[in-house]
Symmetry: C2
Subunit: 399 residues, 2 copies
Amino acid sequence: MTTAGTAHETTTRPGPAAARQHSLREHNLELVARAVFEVPEPLSRAGVATATGLARATVSTLVDQLVAAGLVRELPAVTGGRAGRPAVPLVPAPRTVVGLGLEVNVDYLGARVLDLTGDVVAERVVPGSFHDSDPTAVLARLGALARELSDEVTASGMTVAGARLALPGLVDPRAGTLQVAPNLGWSSIEPVPLLGLDLDVQVANEAKLAALAELAGGSDVAAPDSFVFVSGDVGIGAAIVVDRRLFLGERGWNGEIGHVVVDPAGPRCSCGAFGCLEQYAGKEAMMRAAGLPADAPLADLVARLRADDADLPAGRALGSALADFVNLIDIGTIVLGGAYTELLPWLRADVEAALTERVLAAPFVDLQVRAAQAGPHAALTGGAREVLARVLADPSAWV
Amino acid sequence: MTTAGTAHETTTRPGPAAARQHSLREHNLELVARAVFEVPEPLSRAGVATATGLARATVSTLVDQLVAAGLVRELPAVTGGRAGRPAVPLVPAPRTVVGLGLEVNVDYLGARVLDLTGDVVAERVVPGSFHDSDPTAVLARLGALARELSDEVTASGMTVAGARLALPGLVDPRAGTLQVAPNLGWSSIEPVPLLGLDLDVQVANEAKLAALAELAGGSDVAAPDSFVFVSGDVGIGAAIVVDRRLFLGERGWNGEIGHVVVDPAGPRCSCGAFGCLEQYAGKEAMMRAAGLPADAPLADLVARLRADDADLPAGRALGSALADFVNLIDIGTIVLGGAYTELLPWLRADVEAALTERVLAAPFVDLQVRAAQAGPHAALTGGAREVLARVLADPSAWV
DNA sequence: GGGTAATAGTTCAGTCGTACAACTAATGCG
DNA sequence: CGCATTAGTTGTACGACTGAACTATTACCC
């Protein structure tokens, strides 16, 4: 079923649907599933009951359904030092239902499979240079890679619930189209059919999916519930997460911080305007400012910065644009991803100074700037997690 | 019950609550209420059934409850030219449950009562100058005004469901506090107790409530489902509406477009930073640019513009800041309120030029700039409507 | 070792809300 | 005047949750 989401256009506003008996069950099934999945320590049926407020009897039937569907697994009863019948711990079932994350970016192409526990089950990442590439050829190649991976995990008895394709550009998830990806040189295509996959594949913006990966948190630090994720590379994209959900605006084309005005008298940008952030804090601009070739690897810049012990001039520009962002949307935590993760030590001072100087609410808010935790190729992880989150949100489809 | 919302802080994430049988009823009661309220032509019970997808029998019992609660009224059966038993049209009950909107702004103070049909039942607006005023005295005065109005409508048999107090500044609705309102000269106060009202009063930002008023739409033009509302006066505030709901960010302190960078080499702003939009497109800046005294009435500026037939220089700055806004949040419709409503003819060209030049998604979106429709003192209307929207969202509390 | 308290999980009758179908009510039309 | 048509009501069936009683399994104490 190679679908891209049907666009049920009606003249009347959609509005919420009528709630029937089975809507109740679906709602509570999701509630129980979340209770099992989003808790550090495994819960028992009784634990789920107290956590959700549902009756023990109700929880039992719901959990049984999740176990039967293969989404939840029972661990051996643990006879802890407490009196009473030992509890049966419930955990996300490993290696049963999995999500597939796909990505084409400027310098690599890859696919990653995650299971419900968050483990990486399999992955392939192919470095390359996809600047001004041919979408048909590249997507066919990624499709072949994905099919290989998918066949592999299916042979091991897992079910691939769906896939997300991350692209660095303006994407319409509902229509399944890519409007334009400047750094790939792609425009006006329908990427999903070109993959040739027999799966439910949806396209998404790379920064948005990377932000979702960030939500899972690092090994030591938990992710904040609301943050702005800024992915700095050749282009600069951002995503807004509020209460652990992506905020997409009208079409999902928000977060284009790379083209915020830093100085109207500044250099001309590839987008046609003058003084965009990208001309100060894009990867190529940072390289040139450091006296390096525009396409030098990031490591060269880091080495130079280590040696010179001087801040990046990009910091002031980035701080100014981020202050605008915070003034406009009121999110107090900023997570820097992409190249910025590694460059943060030489950016932090100027960014924080700009924020305290320019953000109106700064005296009343604890503004935080932190490095991304999600690791390399975060969009792959985010895409796979998004698929699995959809499974979690509607477990009844799997029962 | 002079409350300001309790802040149930728990260590665990709140999450959705368990759904019981009565949650079903509450959900469907809201669904039916919305169907009756948000439709231009009155619906019958059968009409509501087809519109909501609920069974006719279910709708009947739900409608009966709404009628019994006094939220919905039955009109005389209309024997239209069609065969069959005549339908009983259902309409929002006039003058039963009402909402109270309150506001203190720089140049006036007022209260307005709306009923469920959207009619203004009563209002008082007192012009004045509240720049650097004493919050205790001013709020006591507004409280007296509000009590007068409230007593009046209560004597006519109506029930005041609650009130919203609009203030031009940073407000924390949950805590019921005002952090700072620069143009009033107020900071760090709890306004609600100072009103001395025996009602559920909540504070809110003025631009946010004005945007809600805008949602009701004008007499001729329907309001868009998603838009950015920019309220331009001495200060410049904005609100973001997505799918007919306010987007508030983390604390409701978003939309501070007045302090977005227009030019880092520009004049120093009252906020301490340089080159903020307010220094170009704030009311006082526009007056001075036109050679008028900073506190001249808006009509003087309009007269001058009519005579000169020249665009406002503020247009370019405003357009630049709005382009940043659209790039960051992806909302295609911009509604200009406050002083901008009247000044739009002399701003439009430059604003639209900046948008098409700077917004990355401009080639793919129909960007629209339009004048606000909500009329004078929009925040009063928005506040009252917000109270009534809360009634609509949970009619079971009134049954 | 056996009794008791404690906790987990299951079973079952009770209640509530919706769906479906049959029924009554009221109108237009031929 | 009868029939078709549409609105609204009544009654039965079914599904989902609850609470209480019951079973299962452990720890602890004498």
